[in-house]
Amino acid sequence: MSVPDTGIAPIAAPPPVRRRIPVWWWAVALVAVLALLSLLEVLTDANDLTSSGTIRATLIATTPILLAALGGLWSERAGVVNIGLEGMMILGTFGAAWWAYEYGAWVGVVGAIIFGCLGGLLHAIATVIFGVDHIVSGVAINIIALGATQYLAAITFTGLKGGGPTQSPPLPDLPALTIEPLADALGDVEDNDIFLVSEIAALLRALVNDLSVMVVIALLLVFVTWFLLWRTAFGLRLRSCGESPVAAETLGVNVLRYKFVAVLISGGLAGLGGCFLAMVASSSYRDGQTGNRGYIGLAAMIFGNWRPGGALAGSGLFGYTETLGLRQGGSSVHALLLAIAAIALAFAMWQLRKANRVALIVGGAVIVVGLPLTYVLGDALKEGFDGEGWVLLGLLVVATVVLVLLRRHEYFAAVLLVLVGLAFALLYFSIDEVPGDFTRMTPYLVTLLVLAFAAQRLRMPAADGQIYRKGTAG
């Protein structure tokens, strides 16, 4: 949920008509990202940024986040904030493990959806029928779901072979798809190490080699969600409940029923995400398996501007950064620091472009002079010289003074971006590897960074999070 600015806005001019992004733009963006990453591999000593192993692991890491994000999308499009996604995912992991162990893999998938729906049902009863604050109810559901799962798991799995109170026995596998000749051929191309070509080959190879059917289902669900919500009457009504429930009810839409259904679907999708964690990402239920992915899914959906394609992009970003942190985290995340610095500086120039030419030249000069300085200083810090603390403190003071002095200036954002970019560059040059504790934080820090820079451009459903009571229309 991005929070609307509370300053009382003057009556705004009609927003400029934005052209819709054509579909092929996504493919171009993907290739551009791959090109950037392979450029990064050339520039730094990281070599695991675009291997097919990384991409495969990214798909595995992305899918549960994506399913949670889609769950959040359904519910918030109908105007119900669902912070209980995490709990519904936890219920899903247990449901999948229990039924898959008892009745087989596909029944496990159904079990996960049903258990997720149970969580959704609770949320729907509390928020839609009783009008409890959405976040309060979500927090309660997370507490209940965690306790219920631990309690049920202790009853169900204790004493089974390979199981225990916090872990289920090994579960049956879901099928995976492999197109062998294609995978081999692409593998050859990937090994040849041609700039960009081998990266694209790696991506394609990950898609044809040992691809879990659940990943395919999740990607299909993105399309299904888009189609149902944006191309059917049902979807239009459901979204109208999130934009203006009063207007919807005036037109004869049963608002409460739509909200109820949306929250149920939301729970089912989150449960499916839990199923993925238990059955595909690992092969058994374990306590604490979800690891805040429900919340990250919610953040991915917000970052994706409450749209399915955006949610996919957001989940991909978080899945990718999580993967980098877990694989050769030290060097990969280190390379990522340079990428963040470059992106921040590029954005700063982009913002100054609108300003007058003098500002643009000054900004460019600061960057051109600043970058070598960070390199020299970073190198010196790496060697270890006396008084490094004082230098850093001095820089911090200068930066703070500059920011405070310019806080009302129209180029404040650009100045901030330049400073952030230089800070990341300094960080990049002053260390060789990122310590393990920090690489594991990568997805969370990226979430914060991305939201900090993107949140104000996003538009959430107008009545998102508001409690609606039947009969308040007219």
Binding site: F130, V132, I135, A140, G147, N292, I302, R440, M441, L448
Partner: protein, 376 residues
């Protein structure tokens, strides 16, 4: 009957009714799972022994601090889910500052407590600034900061590692000098029946919270902003600054949550430091409706359930995880009960008002028919 009295009475009864309902739900769950219902309630509802009582009081102290920290945010419609991360960072900082012992005795204690509060406040302040100036929901950012705090404290702990006893796998910071410990209070025989001296600070925090919210201009601004952002803006409150200040305050109080352990029990911060206290605080604040006394009752209830279910595995062969279901169900039924009672109260009030109006109209205006007659 006076409507206000009626509504107040309903508000008092609601949580107890909800408690009864949730006991019924728990019993159903136990029956469905095939666990002995009677034995479970026997164990939970028996009068605690002295030893258990001291544990309950200790936990109440900690849950109370956590609840108050969350409540400050709630009074302004800010959901500080991040008490969890804030108290971890703050406990680490307080333990490090206290362990360094730059000054001696209780001066060191005070310095460590302040350092912890400042650390908690600054950590919460990140979320506050992001919310006020970048429009990032504090719910998401504090949750992310919780996860970051886990890695951050692990990293910092290794940087500020104190001397370790031989063969110990637990990493801790330097021990606090004994002169800076807060002495425990004895409520019975033996060491097991002592409670944290920090309870005095918790009581003081409750009073300070009550005074700040109800008796100061700042508290008025805070509540006004919480009830209506637009009205607050119209009356000249700088809401952005209020958001940051409220988060700083909430984080400062959150900084106290882990300190009873530091000053009363472990005397250092270690890799086995208790977690999850921040989430309990959310539940406790909601049950207590952000009222200083209500939060205390909620904290006591949760501490009581926590302690009494410890022995369930031995006594009744039931997994003690049932306590989490119990706490969650109680939380949900209580908030639903509050909402139902609120709506009921509003409806009664509306009926009273319309009845009054009806009567007033009937008394003051002569029958309209006559009037028309006279006009002709």
């Amino acid at each position: 009957m006076n409507v206000r009295v009626l509504r107040l009475g309903l508000g008092m009864i609601a949580p107890f009714l909800a408690l009864l309902i949730s006991f019924g739900i728990i019993s159903l769950i136990l029956i469905a799972a095939g666990d002995p219902v009677g034995a479970v309630w026997d164990q939970i509802l028996q009068w605690p022994e002295r030893r258990n009582l001291s544990n309950i009081i200790d936990k109440t102290t900690i849950f109370y601090l956590s609840g108050i920290a969350v409540a400050i945010g709630f009074r302004m419609n800010l959901f500080n889910i991040g008490v969890e991360g804030q108290f971890l960072v703050a406990a680490l900082v307080a333990a490090v500052v206290g362990g360094e012992a730059w000054v001696s005795g209780y001066l060191n204690t005070a310095l460590a407590i302040i350092a912890g509060m400042v650390a908690g406040a600054l950590y919460a302040g990140i979320a506050g600034v992001l919310r006020a100036y970048r429009g990032v929901s504090e719910v998401i950012s504090t949750i992310m900061l919780n996860s970051v705090a886990v890695g951050l404290t692990a990293f910092l702990l290794r940087q500020f590692k104190g001397p370790q006893p031989e063969g110990s796998f637990i990493v801790t910071t330097k021990q606090l000098p004994e002169s800076s410990w807060i002495p425990n209070i004895s409520i019975g025989e033996g060491a097991a029946t002592e409670i944290y001296g920090f309870i005095y600070i918790a009581v003081f925090v409750g009073l300070a919270y009550w005074f700040l919210i109800n008796k100061t201009r700042f508290g008025f601004d805070l509540r006004a902003t919480g009830q209506s952002m637009t009205a607050a803006v119209a009356s000249g409150i700088n809401t952005k600054r209020m958001i940051v200040t409220a988060m700083l305050l909430s984080g400062g109080f959150a900084g106290l949550v882990g300190l009873p352990y530091i000053f009363g029990e472990y005397h250092s911060y270690g890799s086995t430091f208790p977690a999850g206290l921040g989430f309990t605080g959310i539940a406790v604040a909601l049950i207590g409706r952000n009222h200083p006394i209500g939060v205390a009752l909620g904290a006591f209830l949760f501490a009581f359930l926590d302690e009494q279910t410890n022995a369930l595995q031995i006594v009744a062969g039931v997994s003690p995880e049932i306590v989490k279901i119990m706490q969650g169900v109680i939380l949900l039924t209580v908030v639903i009960a509050y909402e139902v009672v609120r709506r009921f109260g509003v409806r009664i009030e509306q009926q009273m008002v319309s009845r009054e109006l009806e009567r007033a109209r009937a008394e003051s205006t002569p029958p309209p028919a006559d009037e028309k007659e006279a006009a002709r």
